[in-house]
Amino acid sequence: MNALDLLLSLSALMLLAAFLFGQTRVYPWLAGILFTGQLVLLAGSDLPMAAGVGLEIFGQQVGWQLDGFGRYFALITIGAALASNVYMGGEWGERYQADGHSLRWLHAALAGNVLAMLLLLSSKDLIAFFIGWELTSWAGFLLMAQGGERALRAALRYVPYAMGGAMAVLGGLVLTLSWTGTLDLLELSRVMSTLGNGQLALLLALFAIGFSIKMGLLPFHLWQAPAYAEAAGPGTAFLGAISARMGLFALGILLVKLMTLSRVADLAFIDGLFTARDLLAWVAALTIVLPTFTALKQNDARYLLAWHGIGQGGYMLLGIVMGDATGSAGGLLHVFNYATYQAALVLAVFAVMHRTGTADLNSLGGLVTRMPLTFLVMLLGIIGLAGLPPMNGFVSKWLVYRSLMVEGRPLLFLMTVIGTLGTILSVYKLIHNTFLGQLRAEHEHIREAPWSMTVPMLALVILAFVTGVAPGLALSWVAEAQAALGLPVLAYTLGGIESPRGSLDMLWIVGVLFAGFGIGALLFYGAGGRSKRVHQLDNYAGGHFLSADVRYHYSDHFYAGLMHRIGPLYRGSFTWLESAVASATDLAASLMQAWYRQAVPALTLLVAAVLGLGWMVWR
């Protein structure tokens, strides 16, 4: 019973326990202890953690083994699960049950997700990988479908995507087996790069389509925002934090370990000018920009954050595709950074929903005086999401920028900066419409979210702040993942990176920043005279007398000027593409149906069988 077996059996046990007595008060404590146990077990044990059990299908060895890359993702998975579990165990869970939903299924879905992801992350060969991949898809569907009718509809929209992706991955797996004769990841990493360009291109196409559907890259991203936004509270936090990053894990293995980035660069469309690697980089860059500016237009806080989830995925893929030490470190670190503040932001939005009953940005406002802790969480979360010092989001984005600058890719650099600025605009809209501005009369008596909600949120945000001030802590895990994947490892210090061509020392930057704030506070509170708090209606309104029933708050159509300029660019071409593909498949299906249902079905079957036999014999 070595470490990995213990880990997997623990999560299987938790799945069983959740299924049996998930709705009781004791389960969240048990789950919390088990999750922390798993975390300690994972962090403590040395690598690679091989699993005892193994089976043999079609003469292929199927086994599980966790290396540095897998462990990095596993740590984030279990951390996100722990945060949402604590959130579920508290008052939110009671309210969820009171509304008639089953808390047992939600806990079971969460535990099932963790188990499936651990299986996927510790797969030693492609079959185990595929098993893990399918389990993760279905567990994800289970978690998305909970929480009401709209959630179910959004989850059902995900199913065709998932099945299409699974078929693509299965096709790729079969082709790899037939071409290389082996499925073990270690051997594949040696053998696969020797395949011919055409074969590699087909394999890349199949696998990349399958993995990017799960990760929500550009053409296949439409399902992710509604599915993640409509899911139940902590489920959204878990999904947003890590579930989409399984696609990134798979892409990382495919691009770097199996095919090696240099071989991917050889697959050139226009030789020398635009290679497959550039294509992936540009898909990642467009994934950064377009979903971020769609998020800018959303009027529901959950959808805004879900669209940002898709957008931030682009940074991670771009970092890995760049392949150099700083870029890949930035991409991988962004997975961790993003998980911390995205989970905190989503939990904050659901805390606001818990108290006010709505997440619609046009019917909130001024909650900072009533929910200060939730405001603090959202403030630090949006600073992280926007990628500003002192939060950790800045470090990973800086690393990606640094690699783009060193590699000399101006247009990609431009797209990432447009994405970052779009994020800054939309996160300010989020915090302004929810917490700032005029407090509505009906929200004057709401209270701060209960401890069971604020504690996990604050823990996540403090974690984000600490790894922002001292990025070295997170970079150690990232370096381990880079080594396991075969990427050049980043030389990091506790504060950031040291290099004559431009270094980053967050300890000094954040220190100077807070010193500046101290001097500013000294100047403000010391030099300035006494100031008195005034009511929100004691406000300048051009000489007009304000009263509580007058809605004196600007929140709808927040960036009107910007929308005048870029409004016409929102043509919804991807939704059109999706509906076109859907109607094409409908047409094909109805044709098949018509062809099959005509007068003599038996005759067509006979002809088809004969033709098949002839083809088999002839080949």
């Binding site: 800054i424 980053l504 704030f517 001097i519 008195k532 005034v534 960036y559």
Partner: protein, 297 residues
């Protein structure tokens, strides 16, 4: 170590005094264009001392105060990353890109403070200010990319050393003329004077973000304006005009860089928000990208 702590205290003070005289120059240029006498020499100092000496101030909450503290504090931190003759502060630990991001923190802090004032004029002003930031930051970052690619590093000390090595011939403005022009245009948009001051439109949205700022809050914003002028011009001088060999040349360059846009500013009316986007995304962006292409090939 002690040496750096002294610098951390002195650099913001130097930046503030130079910034104050830049504000004075700006108001004098405006006056001379309108054939007026213009304010006396120490007018910015009088304004700031009077605002801080106000006896009653109205604040809309803790966040309103913290917004102003962040606005002033953020710029104090940004000054320490800008090398000036004789003092390098922590410029080697934080490059050009980090400086661009640290200067965003004051505007975010101000945005939060104005948000709590619960005044739609302020919120509309902030929405326009962030849109203007989206407009001018993209060409600005393209220029940073070009400059750091040309000098091979985005550590400002290296950039200045490379320029001062060969005298005027090796200045950024001679080596990268297109980027320098685009940089000047972006600097002009960054300073927020006509025609790019849609977010402080006095008649339309009652000076936008400053609508509920009185006494020490407004004093904080005046201090921030001084820092903003100094930072923008110092970054431009460090990137394109060879930084400061000695204090005299450095100050002359700073004032020249601010004087050019300001002498054009007060004859213009005001762009609408979408037109600011159109202008800044067309001219400086095209020039910047062309400059970067030239630098890279």
């Amino acid at each position: 170590m002690m040496h750096i702590l002294i610098e951390l205290a002195v650099m913001p003070l130097v930046a503030f005094t130079i910034g104050m005289f830049m504000v004075l120059m700006m108001r004098k240029i405006a006056a001379k264009i309108q054939r007026r006498v213009g304010p006396p020499l120490l007018q910015p100092l009088y304004d700031i001392v009077k605002l801080y000496a106000k006896k009653t101030q109205s604040s809309h909450g803790l966040l309103h105060d913290i917004g102003i503290v962040m606005a002033v504090g953020g710029y104090i931190a940004a000054e320490t990353m800008l090398p000036v003759p004789g003092m390098n502060g922590i410029a080697d630990k934080a490059g050009l890109l980090t400086l661009a991001y640290v200067t965003m923190i004051p505007s975010l802090g101000l945005a939060l403070g104005v948000g709590q004032c619960a005044n739609p004029n302020g919120s509309i002003g902030i929405a326009r200010a962030l849109t203007a930031m989206l407009a001018y930051d993209i060409p600005f970052v393209v220029i940073i990319f070009g400059a750091s690619w040309f000098y091979g590093s985005n550590n400002l000390i290296e950039v200045i050393a490379a320029q001062q090595a060969g005298g005027i011939a090796s200045w950024g403005v001679t080596k990268m003329p297109l980027l320098a022009i685009a940089g000047l245009f972006t600097l002009y948009a960054m300073l927020g004077k006509q025609p790019f001051e849609i977010y402080v439109a006095p008649a339309e949205i009652a000076t936008g973000p400053m609508v509920e700022m009185g006494g020490k809050h407004l004093g904080g914003l005046f201090v921030m304006q001084c820092f903003q002028l100094f930072t923008a011009s110092a970054v431009y001088v460090s990137m394109f005009l060879g930084g400061g060999e000695n204090w005299l040349f450095f100050i002359l360059k700073l004032f020249a860089v601010v004087a050019i846009p300001m002498s054009m500013a007060f004859v213009f009316p005001r762009y609408r928000t979408e037109d600011v986007l159109a202008v800044v995304w067309r001219w400086p962006m095209v020039l910047g990208l062309a400059g970067v292409w030239l630098v890279m090939h």
